[in-house]
Symmetry: C4
Subunit: 284 residues, 4 copies
């Protein structure tokens, strides 16, 4: 009995508006008899990488799935913390199911360092080519964001509606794969396609992909996930504002630049909330 | 105690963002004392049909209900794997409640092979007539998809917004029951109506039904369910794109054909996620 | 232990896509030690009224709250089964919390038969006056349906989009309280207001209330709830169809009449689903 | 065992449509062995302030997060009940996580009375300056309400659609920070900005903030939260009504004034529902 209680403590069930899930997990842990091992902090599955970074990738993948920004597809990656020519990304599976054990290491040509038979994402070249082109980028998120897809197929540019998505005030270009590559299967499935996408991204934080989705980049996983979330929120609100009719008073580039600095200050407040929601789903 | 733990293992509670449900089920199983029998793989209730196919019908029915693509109505069927002149479909009940035990066998005139007093769906002729007309079709899904219904009553055609619903790039015709049959109760309640619907479907993957819903077809249950889901998603996103104003840049037929091939490759990734969400609801 | 298991059986946890709730309730029942009394079928709290009718009012109130058709306000009533000059309605509380014990009996002037200090709804006159004017009506539901409210303040009439809300094809008039009563607090808080509303309803199934919500009526509680639900669904879909632009092809009155007959045949299929979702919330 | 049951009683699990959460919490409480202390009424953490007022702030913060009116940001405050020159507000954390222990006391210059190293909200000046300017206001709520943000960036005024948001009939002015302060980071991060915002609010119940969100005020925490919720609901419904095309028949100021009086009468009905939903999330 003492063992059980300890296991439950480790899962931090103390405060969350999704306590139901958490408690349910506690029950599973209790009943299954696997509590003690599964609730321990896992040893890091990628050599030389801190568990906290893998945790960010896992939390980010799952919270975006939880919000519906991701469905069964899409991915969150991080540049390797000590080898800038490598990056970290899950094997091919739904983002809602990603665990630290699923994360693999890739070089910037999209080759897995140690595949061990695991299947990899067809679109890893989105990530490899952006890491090549943008040394400042430490994380890349690719989604089929439902709010954003309509903006990938119209001439209406996505613009910053309020202060949290202020990074959009610098512009969010649209990449149309058909322009240079003709009729394709729409996927960024090789380096040439990835390079073209990275060029359209330029020095921005977000690039939209026609008939596909978007990519957000940032100096950290947390911020790339934050941007993926608020890009989706902004797109939905901008659609509503346009539907009201008349001119829309967007954030100016100057306001956007100033407001985005505040996002870095408050980021942990929302990340802590998101992490608390996701942690219970991780106990095996 | 050993028995209980075994039962829970069988339910694969190890990773899911709906762990709460699963754990809750585990509790029910534990408390009710019926764990061992109910958690076993069921013996197949339809002679000569593999349990995996029935499982696909059950998972498909329930995940579409979970997404709100189906409410209390609609149905998922499969062509009989060894007798192409028969098909499999649940008795008349809400799709969220379908189990393998509810699945019955029908001939292509819509007659139940062995009804045993079970009530059958009024609209089974949607399925029987499509299986007659389209030898390539192995599964049929009928929904009152809320995203799609608006497109059944306007002149705006449903078109492919992004790569997952790429099968729409080939066209999604609208069948208006009033055109040939006058004022009816709107239901496809006999073979003549079903035949007319199948003719409008033609060689496409989706047919819309005016003032009613839609039908998706595919070479497998998984793909027919995938198409039902993404037809609903696409319709909602297309509505949003149109509301932004101006021209919409849809997938071309060529892009659609190429992108749809990728869907067959990645299908299991999203199906595994869906199955993991639904499995816990199946333990009695 | 035997006692506990029996109590849980009574709650019918055997099949539901909301098993989590149910199981959770089972746990509460188990832990609280009040299982046996609370899980029993309650003795009916209104003299001469079958428990099944009270159950319908409770399930209907809660499922509409679950769908967001009702929030903290609104009510479901039934004509008294043996005394047509009386009706049954909860004391004043949020519909999501209504239990059979909360249901009171009223006469057609809106007077409580045996108040016992319980507070009553200000708008019970919606119900009393409709029961007076429409002998065929056995149930009345009043909601602030979010889909419908926009249709109460425009000149665009609510019309039948598909076969489930076919009862709308006969028309859904809008009652504007300001027309005969000037500037009020918007509530139907006396018999004169209720009578005016009932006159606008006429022989229809639905009446919209300007700047307020709607009322649905039917020959049974189940059907009045079904109509409240599908009136909300229809309104949302009609808004989307109108936003697509161009003419909308609504159900004709003839189609509506025929399709509505089918609703009576399939009603129990969706009601069983709804009841299964709500039952777990009722165990104390 | 007796101790456990008592703890569960305290949490009032007896009736709620979110019983799952509650029961889950009960399980956690049971398993963790912390039941008795955590389920007790907490001693008030702010000197001289009744626990019931802190409870209102906590319930209000969490229910608005539950409805999505708040995400990781925003705050609910109350004027100090015995010192009108002070107010109560959580330390800087996501509203879904606020507990009574997190609530701090501030003076009307936004200084914490006893910070004890806790971080405070950058935008506490929204609250301090409104309490200064409006002696009648006892509570202030600031949100990034997704329904409302579109109305902060257009010329379309937010107006009362139905009786619950009747307080909007008096008008809801928009404050544009750029008008007097040029390009900023959009935040109300000092007294001068707060004062300007309070001047635009004037004697109204709601003020919109361009590219940011809104603020609602009221004579009680419950009513300020009610207004934040219904401002969001109203904005969404007004968007839908406008999209239908044609003139919208809003509540007149006279109707709004009368209807708002009823809101004070029925407030506890919806608050009780909200409190019942949130309480389970509070058990540690």
């Amino acid at each position: 009995m003492i063992k059980i209680c300890r296991a439950i403590w480790v899962m931090r069930f103390d405060a969350s508006d999704r306590l139901a899930r958490l408690a349910a997990v506690a029950v599973v842990v209790l009943l299954s008899g696997v509590a003690e091992t599964s609730a321990q902090t896992p040893s890091t599955p990628v050599a030389g990488v801190d568990a906290a970074l893998l945790d960010d990738i896992v939390i980010g993948s799952r919270i975006l799935a939880d919000f519906g920004v991701l469905d069964g597809f899409g991915h969150v990656s991080a540049r390797h913390p000590t080898n800038p020519n490598h990056f970290l990304m899950a094997r091919s599976l739904a983002p809602a199911l990603v665990t630290a054990d699923d994360i693999m290491e890739f070089d910037l040509d999209g080759n897995a360092v140690d595949a061990r038979g695991r299947t990899v994402f067809l679109e890893r070249f989105i990530h490899s080519e952006i890491y090549k082109a943008r040394p400042d980028v430490m994380s890349v998120v690719h989604t089929h964001s439902p709010g954003v897809i309509p903006f990938t197929v119209t001439k209406v540019p996505l613009r910053a509606m309020f202060h949290n998505p202020s990074f959009l005030a610098a512009g969010a270009p649209v990449w149309d794969i058909r322009k240079d590559f003709g009729e394709t299967n729409m996927l960024v499935s090789d380096s040439a396609l990835g390079k073209s996408l990275a060029q359209t991204l330029g020095d921005k934080s977000v690039v939209l992909m026609r008939g596909h989705g978007d990519v957000t980049v940032a100096p950290s996983v947390k911020m790339a996930v934050f941007r993926a979330y608020y890009t989706d929120v902004n797109a939905k609100l901008q659609s509503q504002a346009i539907a009201l009719g008349g001119e829309v008073n967007y954030l100016t580039p100057g306001e956007g630049e100033k407001a985005d600095k505040v996002n870095f200050i408050v980021l942990d407040r929302i990340w802590n909330l998101w992490r608390m929601r996701i942690l219970p789903t991780l106990a095996k």
